[in-house]
Symmetry: C2
Subunit: 146 residues, 2 copies
DNA sequence: CCAAGTAGTTCGCAATATGAAGTGTTGGTG
DNA sequence: CACCAACACTTCATATTGCGAACTACTTGG
């Protein structure tokens, strides 16, 4: 067993997940480009949609080294989409938050991604959509998958 | 409407898809790193698992500009995982194919990704796994989503 | 008060991605 | 046949991404 690519056939689920992931990434890339930001920048903005976050928290959330995040935030800040605010209680730390422009862009990009993904899943039967949502939610709720 | 992040709540499906995508990307990144290649390089190798492909075909398959692909193939070729073979019938074109090392690495990486994703979905009930696979396959079979 | 830990940044480096421009090659049309 | 548009791929300049190691500044426990 585990001879060649055909191994995929065992379940097909893993392969399907990889392909779905590629599809989502493509949607994300398209939307980001239409809003004149990179996918990473768009993702950063979206993470901030429900409140400012510290660098460490953000790096954990985005699976990035802190040093990588510094640069990313630098570039997004230079575009005026985000600001660093020094934390009053801990002068080492800072909170990264959206500017007005950033919030607008983030909301639009988020809506566009959602809309397009809903369009993709919209071709499914309603029952399947429900089931899909339920199963994925279940999957993501397991420890380690969140 | 479309006020803030809470908009996600409408269906939750789009958000779940995004999160699943991130999960898959992380698995891919981990596995790639363990095999000492970048995710992009691993992806390239996997595309070649069932036969050599031309640059144009590859660029379409990977949603990359041809110029981007040239560099990617260069680096992977430099590592001895892939070779360019001039096409006899069309001297403009070339076929990119796996070397022995490349094929081994690709197979291992592919197996590792599959294994890890199966582990992730293994926590689901069997019936849900089946349903999930069926729905995703259906989704991916729709024109434009493949 | 001092040692250890924590939050971020800086630096050097390699990889990734794009678009514009360039090199050959092919194939059809006049 | 000669030409030229289309095609396959490469080159180049540029920006972004990402890592790890070393660094600064601040906080906190003892």
């Amino acid at each position: 067993m585990t001879t060649t690519a055909e191994t995929t056939a065992t379940s097909g689920l893993a392969g399907a997940l990889v392909r779905v992931s590629a599809l989502v990434q493509q949607v994300f890339a398209d939307v980001s480009r239409e809003h004149d930001v990179t996918p990473q920048q768009a993702q950063l903005l979206c993470k901030l949609l429900d409140g400012s976050l510290g660098m460490t928290e953000l790096s954990r959330l985005m699976n990035l080294e802190k040093s990588s995040l510094t640069g990313l935030v630098d570039r997004v800040e230079r575009r005026g989409l985000v600001t660093r605010v020094r934390d009053l209680h801990d002068r080492r730390a800072c909170k990264v938050g959206l500017t007005c422009d950033g919030a607008r862009l983030a909301a639009q990009a988020h809506a566009a991604v959602t809309e397009r993904l809903d369009a993709v899943t919209g071709e499914l039967a309603d029952a399947d959509r429900q089931r899909l949502a339920a199963i994925l939610t279940d999957l993501l709720s397991r420890p380690g998958n969140g």
